[in-house]
């Protein structure tokens, strides 16, 4: 049985949530109020996380599949579990495609996307084969690098005098409706609602004391960071440019000119993008493969290769970038809430109803037994 520490969990939440988020203009529909939309979505995401944590606390030794079985019985549980496996694979596939598209747009214009995506999928598969522990250690190492690079870029943006606070004005000129429209369900489902994937991770914690608090602190700080990054894009580029730009943060960084030599730092952004996307796609990939293994009751590594192959293959299904974005923004957000909100909500209700039958300590011992069997088997 693999184990991870709470610190690793916190780092994982931070890097996973950062992912590729600071690079995109989330809530562009709300123009200069996009940061308010982010804020609204982040608060909503916080409540979602609270709900997830509440569910998890009832049965700390179960992962998502186990929880689904616990809540809805084996048959429905397995069915929903399979749906989640597909959902995770789909999310991972989207990140793989993002990775391919963005590399092609920014750095390697003539390299075939196949190669770029193959590299990243092989890397992810490799990390997962090494086990989630190894992957968590990777994240532990990467997080400080990512944080330092972002801070360096932010400092440089400020020191090249690009930030104009008044670009955030006027606040809510069309009332709160556009803000809320931008926030729900789009920003909730990407990135804040994606914390649902951590259902797969919690049971691996060494020490389950205070894991709720750790998750909340990590989540809140990263949400704050994302909102500030969104504000920064807006303050540098203004609503029109930042809304129309594919990667506003890259655009903002391209404008840095400090002392005639600190210019053209695009490559930092691209590296940050790679790190973030890699962590995100690997996490989803792992969740999907791990969930599949559990559904099938196998310990072999075949699900890893299988899921990897599926992710790699499906990432070619979308014909172009516009379709990719359209699918992400128009279609996916319609069904993401099923996994991020609806099913967890049903689990929440189910677990509340089941409370008298299996109070937490009992559930613990029971699940321990199950887990014990699993480890033996």
């Amino acid at each position: 049985m693999e184990r991870i520490s709470k610190f690793q969990l916190a780092m994982m939440i931070i890097l996973f949530q950062i992912g590729s988020t600071p690079l995109f203009a989330l809530g562009g529909k709300a123009k200069q109020d996009s940061w308010l939309a982010m804020l609204a979505a982040a608060i909503c995401g916080l409540f979602l996380l609270l709900m997830f944590l509440f569910i998890q606390r009832r049965a700390p030794d179960k992962d998502l599949i186990g929880l689904l079985r616990l809540c809805f019985g084996n048959i429905i549980g397995n069915f929903l579990g399979a749906a989640f496996v597909l959902y995770f694979a789909y999310e991972s596939m989207r990140n793989v495609r993002d990775f391919g598209e963005i590399t092609t747009i920014t750095l390697l214009t003539s390299t075939p996307q196949l190669v770029i995506m193959l590299i990243v999928v092989v890397l992810a598969a490799y990390a997962i084969c090494m086990g989630i522990e190894a992957f968590c250690r990777v994240v532990e190492i990467l997080t400080p690098i990512v944080i330092c690079s972002y801070s360096a870029l932010v400092i440089l943006i400020f020191s090249s005098n690009l930030v104009k606070l008044d670009r955030l004005l006027p606040i809510m000129e069309n009332g709160p409706v556009p803000v809320l429209k931008a926030a729900f369900p789009d920003i909730v489902s990407f990135p804040f609602g994606q914390t649902v994937v951590f259902f797969m991770l919690y049971k691996l914690l060494y020490n389950k004391k205070k894991f709720c608090r750790v998750s909340m602190i990590a989540y809140s700080s990263v949400a704050l960071f994302l909102i500030l990054m969104n504000m920064l894009d807006m303050m540098v580029l203004g609503p029109t440019l930042s809304g129309e730009s594919t990667i506003p943060f890259l655009q903002a960084v391209q404008l840095i000119q400090v002392g005639d030599f600190l210019e053209r730092l695009d490559v930092f952004v691209t590296l940050l993008l790679f790190l973030g996307l890699y962590v995100k796609l690997t996490m989803f990939y792992w969740a999907s493969a791990y969930g599949l293994a559990e559904l099938l009751g196998t310990k072999s590594k075949l699900p890893i290769y299988g899921v990897g192959a599926v992710i790699f293959a499906t990432s070619f299904l979308e014909p172009d970038y516009t379709y990719h974005v359209w699918l992400g923004i128009e279609v996916s957000v319609k069904f993401f809430p099923i996994f991020q909100v609806l099913i967890p909500l049903m689990m929440f209700v189910a677990i509340l109803i089941r409370k008298p039958h299996s109070p937490p300590p009992l559930a613990d011992t029971k699940s321990n037994n199950i887990m014990g069997e699993e480890t033996i088997g």
């Binding site: 390697l108 075939p112 598969a125 004005l169 000129e173 069309n174 730009s245 655009q251 053209r264």
Partner: protein, 409 residues
Amino acid sequence: MLIKLRILTKSFPILLLCTLLTGCWDRTELNKIGITSATSIDWVNNHWQVSYQLVIPQSISSQSAMGTSNQQAPVMVFSTVGDSIQTAIQRASLEMPRTLFFAHNRVMIIGEDAARKGIGQLIDNYLRSATSRETVSVLITRGTGRKILEQLVPMEKIPGAAIQNMLLNEDKHNSDLKQVMVYQLAMSMSGDSGYSTVPEIFIAGRGVESTNVEELKSTKAETKLKMGRLAVFKKDQLIGWLSLNDGFGINWIMNRIDQTVLFFSCTPGSKHVQSAVHIIHAKTRLKPTQQNGQWVMKADVQATAQLIENGCDIDPSKREGIKALEKLANHAVTTSMQDALRSTQAMKADVLGFATSIHKKDPKAWKQMKENWDEIFPQIPLETTVNISIERLGMSSKSFVDILKGKQE
């Protein structure tokens, strides 16, 4: 056997990645690219004509810096024509041994015809491309942009870089004209009023244009590059010109003054300039207010200055003297701001950012005014309060002219 299999499965990804990560598809050889230091765009016979100023590496390397009599020109200029900008750029491969590389492009010169036609497409090119930068400075010229690229600049090897440095020098030390970069232009064009300004560059002087290295051997140049007026754009189209003085006033209104020299006469209203102060730090707060249903812009200027020239009959070492000089300086700034306002209002072109500040202050009122803003803008008065404090007098106090007069008496 099992161990061997594991080694095999583990080494497989490593081998695969090693071969793929060489990244041979996007390799760029330094000696296969032609670095452009400036580009220009013209609209000739209903086609875009794009001109490039290519740096010739061997002639700017330090070995040849001393120069021999048959020195090669540091840059070469050529043009391509096409229906769209990218078509034109693509045609460059018909006549160039190297692929064009735009990441070091410093300035973009737009010919007047192209500017009147509209440069939206050009800006789209910049925003879309990952290699060309949005920090490129934009300049407008009366004739064709190509002429500007052909001009050599004494003291600097690469004319493109020289033009940008010229602009930065003006931006930093004089503030009549401000550098406008592509992203700033894109922002102001898509802003609330949709009007923006771009500095002009032109070839001053008559005679042979310095397109030959031989020209640089003389101590005087018959022609040189110079910056002039301010081009006014409505959305992406050139609609008119403002003078350099208007530019100065506009920069005061828009809080874009860094350092500058402010000239003033000894009596308010007179055009006879006799004294000057060096503005060290300036800040303008522009505030829209509503008075009896009429919008009024209030500009509050705070600046600190140092006296650098005193031709007036005023003794600045006395407190009243300083006050009098400050008053004259205040008056000069007020006049230049009001002049600029009159010129822009005559053009009905809100390059001053009034629209944006009203939008920010009162979004609801802005929604009603938005449609006929071009009609409302000329009616808006500007109330100014200027407060320049002359903090230092330099190394001398009384005007030397005054001292001489005293001697005579």
